[in-house]
Amino acid sequence: MKLDARIPTGPIEDAWDSAKFEMKLVNPANKRRHNLIVVGSGLAGASAAATLGELGYNVKCFCFQDSPRRAHSIAAQGGINAAKNYQNDGDSIYRLFYDTVKGGDFRAREGNVYRLAQNSVHIIDQCVAQGVPFAREYGGSLENRSFGGAQVSRTFYARGQTGQQLLLGAYQALERQVDAGQVTMIPRTEMLDLIVIDGQARGIVARNLITGKLSVHLAEAVILATGGYGNVYYLSTNAKGSNATAIWRAHKRGALFANPCFTQIHPTCIPVSGDYQSKLTLMSESLRNDGRIWVPKQKGDKRRPDQIPEDERDYYLERKYPAFGNLVPRDVASRNAKAVCDEGRGVGETGLGVYLDFADAIQRLGVETIRDSYGNLFDMYQRITDEDPYKVPMRIYPAMHYTMGGLWVDYQLQSTIPGLFVLGEANFSDHGANRLGASALMQGLSDGYFITPYTVGNYLASSKLKDVKASDPAVQAALTATEQGIAKLLSIKGKRTVDSFHRELGKIMWDDCGMSRNAAGLRDAIGRIRALREEFWQNLNVPGSGDDLNQSLEKAGRVADFFELGELICIDALERNESCGGHFREEYQTPEGEAQRDDEHYGYVAAWGYTGPGNKPELTKEPLEFVYVHPSQRSYK
């Protein structure tokens, strides 16, 4: 297969404008005759559904929670980037573009990233107009802060609840379209299969989670905005329900999966406290603006932090990376935390933790200023750990957080299945091998508000779409396959619970395909995942039935997909014989222990095709070209 990313030619500054000009338009009167499906109501899904509704299309929007407002985007804390240069500190669209390409360790497409930076400024305007209460200066103008991987202040925020406020803005726009009759919202309903007819995406099979009933929904195009797959690792900062089922099943219907091994570990999370641990809580990266990260210089130093004098502390990020200090990108911060803990200098009971200390900032700025910026994060930390971060340094440790990989899409955000568009964290598009802070929210909203509304229209206006009925054999086949899949999970009646399998899978992934990876470990992991999957299909126990609310059954279907995706993540990590961004292969590092890229052999997007159960997936490479930002060894020193 040859991949055509459809990146416009010509100067990058004009590419998106000229692409929009080239696009075919749908006559306004015809829009209401087009039925569209949006799966997902997070930032990407809600913004797309609302905007497509405003344009006059007939939209159905799905989510598995009881309300679209609960999508995982709600949990984003720190902020959203935009190249507004309101601070007059030298920011520009070009700089945001440059930072993002470099931050992604030169594994993202320049064209996509440039467009993202261009759209960033419109996003802020849009959100402000919707009533998103961003932080303000006393004079009434918008306030900014800086975030990891950047030397300018370009992050907009609403206390520590930026994702919540942006999502509520998009959710309200969505509900306005529901009220207008343009969007039908279908909550508590999970997409379980994609319907492909004549090679085009034409609908979905979905299950109502309350009644257990399966239904078929047909459309002219399907838009997936179902979020990331970090929960393959069981413990992550993602919401418990976040899953890969929609994208994985679309993958099995022919959509290529790109760069699955590009996963991001977030450096600042509350450490694990016990075996029952169900998820990990993120402490926003913005804390690194004012907090200083350190560990004792001595191994096994069990003194309380306040008893360790200044000269016996190692502020290792400030020491190793004087230019960026505590604000180095996430992958660098995470790996360094692991390294000092591996040396035996970790803190807390488990030794898997480092200090994030606000004493200096409190002295410099006063408690009130710190409370104003981070109050709710400090409260959250105290609620969980029973320690007061105003007095005692926080303990933090890296955790699985975000997935840069996802379904492959071209410049128009269309997957390898015509008519299937993928937005937000579910696609692989803009972050390369490492995402910079405050740029996922930006990407989700750029995809949903400002890209898909054009590109979906272009697809509809330029494709031949025949009439499809529910009686079509392809529809019935997808429905039957889904029914059988559910019946199978319920019929095993083995001994082990879904969670026990999920935990074990997560541990394999974290140990062998987490912060650092090596060939032997990856090979071993693949073997163990296969064996565990086999046991899953023989020894799983799902209590209850398929015809009412059954949360074990929901989880079982998702974990079954995580097994297959987990294996693909390891295969991809094994195939990529270099280190870049979040993908750190121990065999490939510089003498100082930094990631060693191999642009000559691995300067491509790895797009994997599904070839049937148990078969080796097929790799297609999309070469990456860098015309504007010259690939260099990333340095934050």
Binding site: I74, D125, R136, G140, R176, K240, G274, Y276, Q277, T385
Partner: protein
């Protein structure tokens, strides 16, 4: 630490429910109430019994999915804390925790600790937004908003839509939820043009859903995990009174409440 969980078990709205007691062991005070339920559910599943259905997603106190009563208090005993953020260190050895779902006419029962809160979405649908379409907007800094207004608006916007306010209110009123949205948007210049209509529509929808009336008891703000102030209700009443007068000629129609789960199409 050993505790007893008395949990409301009911398979569906049509069947009869009852409290069932389960002994649990808590290894560590940092464990959350939901993790405690996870462990119980593992045990129940291993015994082949149906696990307790309860809702949750973010487990960080922000999505508003979780929520039930513990010993008669919405979200349990800690102020400003959702159930998912409530750790076991707040309970004593040997204590009994009675857990039951939100009870309100406007939140139809689903299963065990799960209820249907779609009435909240319809209240937002009826007017909880600024009518601005994508693209048709001025520069973000074109409308200056003083820090105090931005902060007050944010205080109200912090609502997570969990429904604790309704569950705690002896009248089953949704005034705090509705008022929070009216205040969030009404304080900002962007929300001003629709201020009157918004209040009138949203209050009409709240009434149509079967929520009770507010009599200023204040239980709602007491249990609110985001501590939305009662001021939000005052703002709602203010905007409503003014709006009802100014909009007295307009026709207000509420959206018909839906309780079924059929979304058409086979």
């Amino acid at each position: 630490m050993k505790l007893t969980l008395s949990i409301w078990r009911q398979k569906n709205p049509g069947s009869k429910g009852k409290f069932v007691s389960y002994p649990v062991e808590v290894p560590n005070g940092e464990m959350s109430v939901l993790e405690c339920l996870d462990v119980l559910n593992e045990t129940l599943s291993e015994r082949g019994e149906e696990p307790v259905a309860f809702e949750h997603d973010c487990r960080e106190g922000i999505c508003g999915t979780c929520g039930f009563m513990i010993n008669g208090v919405a979200h349990g005993p800690m102020p400003a804390t959702t159930i998912c953020q409530l750790t076991m260190r707040h309970f004593k050895d040997g204590e009994e925790l009675v857990m039951e779902p939100w009870r309100s006419r406007a939140f139809p029962f689903v299963k065990d600790l799960v209820v249907d809160r779609r009435s909240f979405d319809r209240i937002i649908q009826s007017g909880g937004y600024v009518s601005v379409s994508t693209g048709n907007v001025p520069d973000g800094n074109a409308i200056p908003i003083g820090k105090d207004d931005a902060d007050r608006s944010m205080d109200a916007a912090a609502c997570i839509g969990c429904g604790a306010c309704v569950a705690a209110c002896p009248n089953g009123s949704a005034a705090l939820f509705t008022g929070a949205k009216i205040a969030h948007l009404g304080i900002l210049p962007q929300g001003k043009p629709e201020q009157d209509r918004r209040a009138v529509q949203m209050v009409a929808q709240m009434n149509a859903e079967g929520f009770g009336s507010c009599t200023n008891i204040g239980e709602c703000t007491g249990v609110c995990p985001k501590e939305i102030p009662l001021e939000a209700i005052a703002k709602m009443n203010h905007d409503y009174l003014l709006g009802a007068w100014k909009e007295r000629k307009s026709v207000v129609t509420a959206i018909a409440p839906v309780t079924g789960w059929e979304f058409g199409e086979k």
